[in-house]
C-alpha cells in the first residue's frame, strides 16, 4: 500500500516539473558577485541604452512606473550613527518554474530552449497577470506609447524592438546578443564559447561583478562560480528556481551578507 502511495506521490511531483528541464540547448545563467558590486548603477544605464527603455520623467517615476529592467535595490539598516546601507542589483531572474508563465492566458511569456523566460511583445494583450504573479516585481508595463524626443530616436538600438502601449516587458538577458552570438557560432560551425556573450549590464560593470554563461557547460565560469560557498538565490524558498545566482558580500568582520 505504501509503495503504491509513493508511486502516486512521485508521479504528482514529476508532473510539477516542467518538461523542458532535461532537454535545454543552453541554460543561460547570470552570477552576480555582491562582493565586487559597488552600486554605481552603470549596469542600469547600459540596460536603458541597450534595450530601448524609455525615460518616463519625474512624475511617472514618482508613481513607481520607472522602466528600469535592472534596478539597484537599496536597503538601510540601523539608526544613525550606526547605519548600514546595503544594495543588490535585481533583474528578471529567468525562473525555471516561473509563476508568470503559468499566468499568461495567451502564451505571451513562455520558456524557450535556452532556458530563458521570454516575452513576446506582439502576443501580449496586457492582462497584467504575469506582473502580478511575479515575486520579484521585475516586469514593466508600457503605460503609454513613449516617444523619444529628437534627436534621441537616432540612438535606439536597431536590434531591439520599440514597444507600444499596453504591452508588458522585462529583462531578456539581452537575448539579441545571445541570438547574434549563436548565429555567428553557427556560421563558423562551432559551439558558442564561454565569454562570447556579454549582456549590456555585464559588459558595462566596471568591477566585473556580473558574470554570464551557460550553466550546462561544466567548464564555464558561471558553472564554477555557482559552486561557491557564498552562493544563494533571491527568494529561493518560493521554489521558482531562479537562474540568477548571487554571491554573498563578505563584510569587514568576515561575515557574509545577502545584500
Amino acid at each position: 500500500m505504501s509503495g503504491f502511495l509513493e508511486r502516486i506521490a512521485g508521479k504528482l511531483k514529476s508532473y510539477r516539473e516542467p518538461g523542458y528541464y532535461t532537454k535545454l540547448d543552453h541554460k543561460w545563467t547570470m552570477v552576480i558577485d555582491l562582493d565586487k558590486c559597488n552600486g554605481c548603477e552603470a549596469c542600469v544605464v547600459a540596460c536603458y541604452a541597450e534595450n530601448n527603455l524609455p525615460v518616463v520623467g519625474k512624475e511617472d517615476c514618482a508613481k513607481s512606473r520607472a522602466f528600469s529592467w535592472l534596478r539597484i535595490e537599496r536597503y538601510v539598516e540601523g539608526e544613525y550613527p550606526d547605519v548600514k546601507v546595503k544594495f543588490i542589483p535585481v533583474m528578471c531572474q529567468q525562473c525555471m518554474k516561473a509563476p508568470c508563465e503559468t499566468g499568461c492566458p495567451v502564451y505571451a511569456t513562455y520558456h524557450n530552449q535556452d532556458g530563458l523566460n521570454v516575452q513576446v511583445y506582439n502576443r501580449c494583450v496586457g492582462t497584467f497577470t504575469c506582473a502580478t504573479y511575479c515575486t520579484y516585481d521585475v516586469r514593466r508595463f508600457n503605460w503609454f506609447t513613449y516617444k523619444w524626443p529628437k534627436p534621441l530616436e537616432a540612438q535606439l538600438n536597431p536590434d531591439v524592438s520599440v514597444r507600444e502601449m499596453g504591452v508588458m516587458e522585462k529583462c531578456t538577458f539581452c537575448i539579441q546578443r545571445i541570438r547574434s552570438a549563436k548565429d555567428k557560432a553557427k556560421d563558423e560551425g562551432k559551439p558558442v564559447k564561454d565569454g562570447d556573450i556579454k549582456p549590456a549590464c555585464s559588459q558595462s560593470c566596471p568591477t566585473g561583478a556580473i558574470y554570464f554563461g551557460d550553466l550546462q557547460d561544466p567548464e564555464s565560469i558561471v558553472a564554477k562560480l555557482a559552486k561557491s560557498p557564498r552562493r544563494y538565490r533571491l527568494l529561493e524558498e518560493l521554489n521558482a528556481d531562479p537562474s540568477v545566482i548571487y554571491l554573498k558580500r563578505v563584510m569587514g568582520d568576515g561575515t557574509t551578507s545577502h545584500e
Binding site: D60, K63, S64, R65, A66, R71, E73, R74, Y75, V90, P99, T102, G103, C104, P105, V106, Y107, Y110, R123, C124, V125, G126, T127, F128, T129, A131, T132, Y133, T135, Y136, D137, R140, F141, N142, W143, F144, T145, M165, G166, V167, M168, L235, L238, A240
Partner: protein, 466 residues
C-alpha cells in the same frame, strides 16, 4: 412548475399551497396577467427620466473615459509597478459576485420547491445576467490592449497560436462564458410561457416580437412536461457551475505566490462572499423594483423576511471565514503575511475600510436576527446597501493591500485610483441600471404562470360543484 393546484375540487375550497405565502389571497389569474403586462406596456414619466439618466451616465462615466483610456494608454489609471490590478479587477469580482445569487438562488429554491421563489426569481435571474455582462466588460477595460481580446478565445488561426490552458485567466474565460450562456438560457426557458401570455395580450410591433420569442407556445400538457424537464436540468446544472465560476475567479488571485492573495481558503471564501453580496443585491433591487413597478402585491414583506434570514446565515459564514483567514495568517507569523495583515488592518486609509467592512458585513446584518428588522423595508435597505459597500471594500482590500506589499520591500508602492477608474466604477452602475430598466419593459419581469400556482384556480361565482 406545471400548474397543478391543491385546491379541493370536491368541496370547492381554495387552499394556497403554502399558507404562509401571502400572495395567495385576493388575486385572480386575470389580475396577474394584467399587472405583469402593465409593467411592460404602460410607461410613466419617471421611467423615461430614469432611463435617460442611466444611459447618459453610462455614456459619460463609462464610455467616454474608456475611450480616453484606450486612446491614451493604461497610464491614465492609478496603476503602477507592484499594483497592476486595482479598481477594475475589484469591480470585475464585485459584479461577478452580484451575479452569483440570482440564478443560483433561483435554481436552489426551485429544486427545494420553495414557494416564495416564484415572484422574485425572474428579475433575480435577469440581475445575474446583467451583472455578468457588466463584469465581462471590466475584463476588457482592465486589459492593456483590449482590441486583441479575441486572442484569449480558442479560435482556429493560420499562425497556429493557441491558448495557455494552465492560466487561471483562461479558466475564467471559459467559466464566465459558460455561466453567462447558461444563465441566459435558464432565464429564457423559464420565461417562455410568460412570453406567450404577453404575446396574447399585446398588439402591434410587440405582438410580432413576442410571437417569435414565445416559440409557438400553446400550453399543451406535453409542452409543460418538456419545459419542466429542461428547466430542472438547467437548475441542477447551474448550481455546481455557479460554485465553480466563483472559485475560478478566486483562483485568479489564489494561484499566485503573492502574500495576501495566495490563500487556500479563497475559493470557498469567494463563493460565500458572492452569494452574500448577490443576495444583498437582490434585496436592494427588489425594494426599488416593487416600489417603482407597484408590485407590492407580489413581492411582499414575507419575501424580505426569508431573504433576511438568508443574509443572516451568509453573514455568519462570511465572518467565520474572514476570522479564520486573519487568525491563521497571524498565527503562522511569516513576515510577508504579517506585513500584509498589518497593512490591511492597521494602516490608514485601509484600516478605515477594513473596519467599516467588518461593521457592515458582520455586525450590521445581526439586526436580521429580529423579525421586525427583516420585515422592515428601511432596515432591509440599510443592511443590504451596507453589505454591498462592505463586499466591494473586501474585494478592493484584497487587491490593494496585497500587491503593494509583495516580497521585496524596495518595490513597495501604494495604489491611489485615478478619476478615470472611479468614473468607470460609477459608470458600471449606470450600465447595469440601463440594462435592468430595458429589461423590465421588454420582458415579463415577474413570472406570471408561477405566481398563479399559488393562487386558487378561478371558479364561477357561487360555484363549488361542477
Amino acid at each position: 412548475m406545471a400548474p397543478h393546484h391543491t385546491s379541493d375540487y370536491q368541496t370547492g375550497e381554495l387552499k394556497s399551497r403554502d399558507l404562509s405565502y401571502p400572495t395567495g389571497g385576493g388575486i385572480s389569474y386575470k389580475e396577474v396577467n394584467d399587472d405583469v403586462v402593465r409593467t411592460m406596456t404602460q410607461t410613466g414619466k419617471w421611467y423615461y427620466i430614469a432611463l435617460a439618466g442611466a444611459v447618459s451616465g453610462f455614456l459619460a462615466f463609462w464610455i467616454l473615459p474608456w475611450a480616453y483610456q484606450i486612446y491614451t494608454g493604461q497610464g491614465v489609471t492609478g496603476l503602477n509597478t507592484p499594483d497592476f490590478w486595482g479598481i477594475y479587477l475589484t469591480n470585475f469580482v464585485f459584479w461577478i459576485g452580484i451575479s452569483h445569487s440570482g440564478t443560483l438562488l433561483s435554481a436552489i429554491l426551485f429544486i427545494t420547491k420553495t414557494p416564495w421563489r416564484r415572484s422574485i426569481y425572474r428579475s433575480a435571474e435577469a440581475m445575474t445576467f446583467f451583472s455578468v455582462a457588466t463584469a465581462a466588460v471590466f475584463i476588457f477595460v482592465h486589459m492593456g490592449r483590449p482590441w486583441n481580446f479575441y486572442w484569449t478565445v480558442p479560435y482556429p488561426n493560420q499562425r497556429s497560436l493557441w491558448l495557455n490552458f494552465q492560466s487561471p485567466l483562461m479558466f475564467d474565460v471559459f467559466a464566465i462564458s459558460t455561466y453567462a450562456t447558461s444563465s441566459m438560457i435558464f432565464l429564457y426557458f423559464g420565461s417562455i410561457p410568460d412570453l406567450a401570455a404577453v404575446r396574447d395580450r399585446v398588439t402591434g410591433w410587440r405582438k410580432q416580437i413576442y410571437s417569435m420569442l414565445a416559440l409557438g407556445w400553446r400550453g399543451t400538457d406535453s409542452e409543460w412536461h418538456w419545459l419542466f424537464k429542461a428547466y430542472t436540468f438547467f437548475a441542477v446544472f447551474i448550481i455546481p457551475l455557479a460554485v465553480s465560476v466563483h472559485s475560478i475567479v478566486s483562483w485568479d488571485f489564489a494561484l499566485s505566490k503573492v502574500p495576501g492573495l495566495a490563500k487556500t481558503i479563497f475559493a470557498p471564501y469567494f463563493v460565500v462572499g458572492a452569494i452574500y453580496s448577490g443576495s444583498a443585491g437582490i434585496v436592494t433591487l427588489m425594494i426599488i423594483f416593487r416600489k417603482a413597478m407597484k408590485l407590492e402585491k407580489y413581492i411582499t414583506l414575507n419575501h424580505f423576511d426569508k431573504l433576511g434570514m438568508l443574509l443572516l446565515v451568509m453573514s455568519l459564514l462570511w465572518s467565520y471565514i474572514n476570522v479564520i483567514e486573519v487568525f491563521t495568517g497571524w498565527y503562522a507569523n511569516t513576515s510577508p503575511e504579517n506585513e500584509t495583515l498589518i497593512y490591511r488592518m492597521f494602516t490608514t486609509p485601509y484600516a478605515y475600510m477594513f473596519w467599516l467592512m467588518i461593521f457592515t458585513n458582520t455586525i450590521l446584518p445581526l439586526l436580521f436576527i429580529f423579525k421586525k428588522c427583516r420585515t422592515s423595508i428601511l432596515a432591509c435597505v440599510v443592511v443590504s446597501l451596507g453589505i454591498n459597500v462592505g463586499m466591494w471594500l473586501e474585494r478592493y482590500l484584497i487587491l490593494t493591500t496585497s500587491l503593494p506589499r509583495k516580497f521585496l520591500p524596495y518595490m513597495w508602492h501604494d495604489y491611489i485610483p485615478s478619476w478615470v477608474e472611479i468614473s468607470m466604477t460609477l459608470g458600471s452602475f449606470c450600465f447595469f441600471a440601463m440594462l435592468f430598466l430595458l429589461f423590465v419593459k421588454l420582458w415579463p419581469s415577474v413570472s406570471i404562470y408561477e405566481v398563479k400556482e399559488d393562487i386558487g384556480i378561478p371558479m364561477r361565482k357561487g360555484g363549488g360543484h361542477h
